[in-house]
Symmetry: C2
Subunit: 632 residues, 2 copies
């Protein structure tokens, strides 16, 4: 088991590279985005002749000396003064240009000027831009549109660029099915190599994906031998763990040498690294999609850069305050996907789901938090370095929501992008109470909340007052929605009301403490003097409506308290119990910032109302209305 | 004449967009890099079944209760405990997985366990990643590799992306020739539309370039009418100025309405903006390449973003100290191309050539300094905002050289990229003395210098002592090179030595004050008691060896004092006079930084020596050797 950097160094030392690196000869006009393979020197000066820099008349500067308002100089048109447009060559014997507006023609063929010009004034001299033989573009440069211009200006039409490293991607596993094929339990949709394809392209390589290969050592070895002929780099996915069907390490050993088996990174550990006897690199990347992406970043990205002769660009780092405690085991590096945003001039970040199988944690992240091997996690509020996955100016336009998850809020985030291109919404779903605490600590722009006060039955206001004692907070309506029991289709157990939850034949699935729905449950149970300890599954906590509904749809539980839309999405039955407001808590002094103006404008739009009301059980009549204000 | 922002708003208000914006339906696997056109909701949960998260045995958690070292629980293989690999579905009636390493088999068919498992332990539950019906990707998002993974995981194989806006590029002008065609004075190599093509692609559009169209109003109008059928945006280049052949504004007016003629930006002014009667935008961009690029940035970039429904990403800004005074006229915005670098923890920037025709100023720049209309330029040492053209982490690896220009230093910069991928060299050629002053002010990492001391004849050391009184500076050899007279082929005027410069029939071209070559000239003239005022052309100053040699090759002068390589590059004759050292002045306390170690390693390499000695008149025997040290 090696640290990622050590694994990379081990591999790098053993990869055999062509010298010089393979090149493609291409048209300069098509070279943008490629890496230059050779220094390019100008074949031609630019400009390659002395040309007029203005529209006017070419003259000899000597012949204009002394010209003034009282002693104009007369020039003979066609001889002393030759008409030129911008870019025209300066005729032999002339050495300056008089601007057209500085000349008048008192009689045909005669020009009069009232001020002199210096030699070479208004002339664009040969080589002003580039001189024959000068270096125009160095090797190893990612060529820009402007490099294309400079090379063409310097008389070059063909150039040499580094060949894109060819990366073969081999999905392996009996359980894999191609995207779009029918699936049944036990199948895994093979998408890792499609993610890798896109990453390889982004990193400057040329991916070739072959169809999945069975977990059969000889079929696998044959597949690898086959792609080795035409490729620089081979990636097998997966089979690098230590299970019954993990053949990758043995294949690496049989084709050359297994250099590394296991890297000290979470997720990403079950990675194998080898080289063939000819020095060609083979990577066995892990099967869990986040592990696969992390290991690819650590090994495949620098490998492609090595074959391109460039350095992988370091990601920009910012210091950010962590919104939640993140425990981490000592002994391995951990890569946490986070949503970073800029609040009140500082950066904050919220961790996303940590499971190695949660690819959406990567698609939703805009930054990574790397916890080094010897650090035992990060405390809430601690300042850490995070690596931005998007340009900083894009991350700066991220609107940060922490709080309760709501489907209509997802729709608002979608519409925000249409109405306010550039801005985006990042949601950390930690429940209503967690959101209010985050708001009070200045870790989010707003918090979605639906918290009933057990004492008064009033929604949100009392909780905001308690959770945010030092802030003036506005409550802005988003939606009203139906809460009720999600049950299996046909409601086979006949669950109708809270007392049913205590039945012996009913298994419930709960929401986490601090979730608005949990507070609602506990409030209604207390009002009815029902004892939670009598509910089977009361201790089993899910973090979203959808996750709770999934527990019902997959038979883990008979009943969950959720919004109607969650039951609808999964085709389950729903027993409506009550309507509740879901509001946005927003610091009053940020209501008039561009971020919040954009958000409020979006939820006040007819499109938002229409989209929200298409979700089951939603009313958006109060969307965007000020429904309460809590002062200190 | 409008400000650029005003011109853009005027245009935006008049462009007619399709609603919804045009879409392409594409394979999800090919969607990375495209902009999502619709919100995408999961068709399938991921995972879509409860699966084993470990290799081991599926069990009922209830049946494991109480297992311990002293009271192991026995399970019947195949009934109580079913073997599962990671990813296998959990068989009906089971609800947890025991890890393979936590089990032993005391007799065939019987498994023994010594600890219990909780319900759903080691099980990857349905919907852990994404739940059917959940929003996977919002509209208007630039899709990443991870979005591809998330969409495929959610059971989607096709998706909708915004169609790339189609941009027609029409080069116009009788003087244009295609790259690679034979050229003669008066021709202009048409490269602007190739630069625009690459920019359009970078900005997310799809360029179509047609061959150059003559300066003929009806041919131009026909060409525009033709491309309007298939394109969203039309760009004409150039013809938007006010000269004899500038037809663009009239064509815009005849096809619809001329909205803007002239924008208040330098370079970039002669720009025309119009819409057709159908609301299709037409831009007439300026002919000078830098003007064209600047105007495209101001108008074409936001236009493409508008058609894509996204916001053009703002460039990251850093505060940088300006290395030289930059005058600017009040009344227009000015876009200065600069080389920015990080020195001692702060950013500095040096302006590049300002001519609108100097495309290399864009290819060499890594940042832009925008001087607003009401600011009268920037003083040396002033702190300003610059917009980075490259990622910040790339700009941070820029090695900043300010000083004398030398061809071997260009080669060192080229090799630096090969030996140390990621690092690059940016050179501001201000002459030896300017470089030493910049070094003394901490505005560069090192300064190339070849300055003779008139009093002692010693090179560099006395000047460094005077120019950098508060720094310990090392002098490291780069090359020795030949200085002499560059003259026309065959040396028709028989110029042999300094006294010849005073002849009536000889015109000289000089170097700027502070250049090492100028100091050499003045020193030799003084030693020989020759009066500079007797030299024709002594006042005409060029900033590089090459520029001075160009003046000779184009007949502006008969003679220049330059290095041999400049004469060689242009095929001119050379009269050798003497050899001089060209050294690098480097602060002693930065000799051991990664930047300088990389640079010194590069110039000590055999490749550098070989490449430098291929240049005419160079010796690199002392390259990288410490040749002097100047202490306070």
């Amino acid at each position: 088991m090696k640290d990622a950097a050590e694994a990379w160094e081990t591999l790098r030392a053993r990869v055999r590279l062509a010298n010089p690196l393979p090149e493609d000869e291409v048209d300069v006009a098509a070279a943008a985005g490629r890496v230059s393979a050779r220094p390019m020197f100008a074949a031609l000066s630019s400009p390659f002749y002395h040309g007029a820099a203005m529209d006017g008349f070419a003259v000899r500067a000597e012949g204009t000396v002394g010209a003034s308002e009282i002693a104009p100089v007369r020039l003979c048109l066609g001889k002393d003064a030759v008409p030129v447009d911008t870019g025209d060559p300066i005729p032999r014997g002339h050495d300056a240009v008089i601007k057209i507006e500085d000349v008048h023609e008192p009689e045909p063929g005669i020009l009069e000027i009232v001020s002199s010009v210096a030699p070479w004034q208004n002339v664009r001299l040969t080589g002003e831009d580039v001189v024959t033989g000068e270096l125009v573009v160095p090797q190893g440069k990612l060529l820009t549109a402007f490099d294309v211009g400079a090379l063409l200006a310097a008389g070059l039409t063909r150039t040499w660029v580094r060949r894109r490293p060819r990366v073969a991607l081999i999905p392996t596993g009996d359980e894999l099915v191609e995207p779009g094929a029918p699936v049944s339990p036990g199948h895994i949709i093979e998408f890792n190599t499609h993610v890798l394809s896109a990453l390889v392209r982004e990193w400057g390589g040329e991916p070739t994906r072959i169809p999945p290969v069975r977990d059969d050592p000889s079929a696998l070895e044959a597949a690898v031998r086959d792609v080795l002929k035409a490729c620089d780099i081979v990636v097998m996915n997966a089979g690098a763990s230590a299970g019954r069907d993990d053949h990758t390490p043995f294949i690496l050993a049989s084709l050359g040498e297994l250099l590394v088996h296991g890297i000290n990174v979470m997720p990403g550990k079950p990675t194998a690294v080898g080289v063939t006897n000819e020095g060609q690199p083979i990577l066995g990347l892990p099967g869990y999609p986040v592990s696969c992406a992390v290991a690819a970043e650590k090994l495949l990205r620098p490998l492609i850069a090595l074959f391109l002769g460039v350095a992988p660009l370091a990601r920009e780092r910012v210091r950010a305050r962590v919104a939640r405690k993140i425990p981490s085991k000592v002994g391995h590096e951990e890569v946490i996907r986070v949503q970073a945003g800029r609040i009140d001039g500082g950066w904050t970040c919220s961790p996303l789901a940590r499971g190695a199988g949660v690819i959406t944690s990567l698609s939703r992240a805009n930054a990574l938090l790397i916890i080094p091997p010897l650090v035992e996690g990060v405390e809430a509020g601690e300042e850490v370095d995070v690596e931005l996955l998007v340009p900083r100016t894009e991350a700066e336009l991220t609107l940060v929501h922490v709080g309760s998850h709501d489907l209509a809020l997802d729709l608002a985030g979608d519409l925000l992008r249409r109405h306010h291109p550039g801005r985006s919404l990042a949601s950390a779903n930690v429940g209503s109470l967690g959101g209010l605490y985050a708001l009070s600590r200045g870790e989010c722009h707003f918090a979605g909340t639906h918290l009933i006060d057990p004492a008064t039955g009033e929604y949100n206001v009392p909780h905001v007052r308690r959770a945010c004692p030092r802030k003036r907070v506005a409550l802005v309506g988003l939606v009203e929605r139906e809460q009720g029991f999600t049950v299996a289709r046909g409601n086979p157990k006949g669950i109708r009301d809270f007392p049913d939850l205590l039945r012996d034949d009913v298994t419930f699935v709960n929401r986490q403490r601090g979730a608005g729905t949990r507070v609602l449950l506990d409030t209604r149970l207390a009002e009815r003097r029902l004892d939670p300890s009598g509910i089977r599954g009361y201790e089993r906590e899910e973090y979203t409506h959808m996750a709770a509904a999934v527990a019902v749809s997959s038979g883990v539980a008979d009943c969950a308290l959720t919004i109607r839309a969650a039951a609808d999405a999964l085709g389950l039955d729903f027993v409506p119990l009550e309507r509740e407001p879901y509001d946005l808590a927003i610091p009053v002094d940020s209501l008039d910032t561009p971020h919040l103006r954009a958000m409020l404008g979006t939820i006040r739009s007819p499109e938002f109302r229409r989209a929200a009301e298409k979700l089951g059980g939603y009313s958006a009549a109060r969307a965007g209305a000020l429904v309460g204000e809590v002062s200190r």
